[in-house]
Amino acid sequence: MTAAPARILETQALTARYGHVQALSAADIHVCAGELVAVLGPNGAGKSTLLRAILGLASTTGTASFHGEPLPRQDPVAVSSRGVVLVPEGRGIFGPMTVSENLQLGAYRLRGDKAEYGRRLARVLALFPRLGERLSQTAGSMSGGEQQMLAIGRALMSDPKILLLDEPSLGLAPRVIAEIMEKLALLRDEGLPILLVEQKAPAALKLAQRAYVLVLGRIVACLDPRDLSSHDDLAKYYFH
């Protein structure tokens, strides 16, 4: 028997509430080295809340830990600084600023190291060549797909240790979604652990090593995508 792979990110009984509304109930999930883990669930299930709870953006009980150390709460700057980086729902790009400025701000914590900055930029532009063609363009004037690429590229500029993505496919055409998923697979193969939240299950299941199903704030299943004989198996969670 091989030793269990190291858990990079782990939540234990992570619970989040908005006032009296409990949007996430005692979630236990983990991401191991080299894994791309999906969290699937219908609209309003609490997927965004789970990611926000990990970042400490929501008011939480329970723990979220990274390499065994609990992550700070209510301090997203500190969590990001540990390399736990979220590409938020709606992308959160700085629309009035240029693509280049957005990427520069992604590397905000990199102080003065020009060579390292150049390496990171080259890596991002190699992954998303289209961003390279649009460096001086205003970020908000790009297409939705390009904005999503920028959001991911900007996150990569910080040299994350794990990437959390909140519905990167939202509002995009199938062809663009496929392109973005392909890039995520590349990143995963380069060794970057990824936690991918998606409502659109098929796209995410193609990449994932494991998939949690989140319904009404609870993790109701943890699936191995290879075992799913048909998507009907998943549909029962969405529509029960």
Partner: protein
């Protein structure tokens, strides 16, 4: 004096006060952009700038440039104190804009009263920076203090533009203005940016106070009128746009000067507030923004 030179003279004096309103207006924008807060203690910084310089000059016998620099630094520091003591605790609790305005207004009154207790109610003034007779352009006299005001203001506006467009810290402050949470997710220390915005605005306000005091006077209670004028300048400029606020200040200064020349000084505030209303009704996006 011909009508034209009279008109030009009014215009010139209006531009001087306009620069001051513009600098104060920029102070409003810098804080608003970093935090969404409208800081009504902005006038206290202006008053303190002139007052501390005057005290350092007369009581400590420091030369004017040194006194001015010390005053601007002290006021910038007091800006961060205001941020830490009054604003941040409320901000952390997600206080509404209304609460924030009341709190900063209360801070303004505290500073005003403390100044009254410390230095009394006598108006004070500063010597002009360069004591030479005014320059004459045709029939129009331009005092050297006015030149100081115009040149310094333009340098500051240009410097701020470079800061916000070119430096990493300036860009990070803009990012906080656009989307504070997204900025935090990039590891940008949003709270430190807030403190910095208060230091910057306070310093700008103090500079405005130092520049204007030689042409007027300063007293414990000059802050509020300056804050109102700066606030109008910021609105006219399309709140949040520093360059717009500066143009708004210039416009306000000129309109006020014209109103005083045409109808007497009683109309000064009427002119300013009428201009505010006109902009709120017709061009709520400000001079440089889109029209309604």
């Amino acid at each position: 004096m011909s009508d034209f030179t009279y008109f030009a003279q009014v215009l010139v004096s209006g531009l001087g006060t306009g620069c001051i309103y513009g600098l104060i207006g920029i102070g409003f924008c810098v804080i608003y952009n970093a935090s969404g807060i409208v800081n009504f203690a902005q006038g206290a910084f202006v008053m303190l700038g002139g007052m501390i310089t005057q005290v350092a000059l007369t009581r400590l016998g420091l030369p004017l440039p040194i006194a001015a620099i010390i005053a601007i630094l002290l006021v910038a520091i007091s800006g961060t104190v205001l941020e830490r003591v009054v604003v941040r605790p409320l901000w952390d609790r997600n206080a509404t804009m209304f609460v924030m305005i009341l709190a900063t207004l209360a801070a303004q009154i505290v500073v005003e009263r403390a100044t009254l207790l410390a230095v009394g109610d006598q108006p004070r003034t500063l010597p002009v920076f360069t004591d030479l007779p005014p320059l004459k352009f045709g029939g129009v006299a331009v005092s050297l203090q006015l030149i100081w005001i115009l040149v310094t203001s333009c340098l500051i506006v240009a410097g701020l533009a470079v800061f916000f467009q070119k430096t990493k810290t300036g860009k990070a402050m803009r990012a906080c203005a656009i989307d504070r949470e997204a900025a935090a997710l990039q590891g940008i220390p949003v709270k430190r940016m807030l403190a910095l915005s208060f230091a910057l605005s306070a310093g700008l306000g103090a500079l405005a106070g130092v520049l204007i005091t030689p042409t007027q006077y300063t007293a414990f209670n000059v802050g509020v009128p300056f804050a109102i004028s700066g606030f109008i300048a910021a609105i006219v400029g399309g709140f949040g746009k520093p360059s717009g606020a500066f143009l708004g200040g210039l416009l306000l200064g000129v309109v006020q000067a014209a109103a005083i020349a045409g109808f007497g000084s009683g109309l000064k505030n009427v002119a300013a507030l009428s201009m505010l209303l006109i902009f709120l009704f017709l061009r709520p996006g400000g001079i440089v923004g889109a029209s309604k």
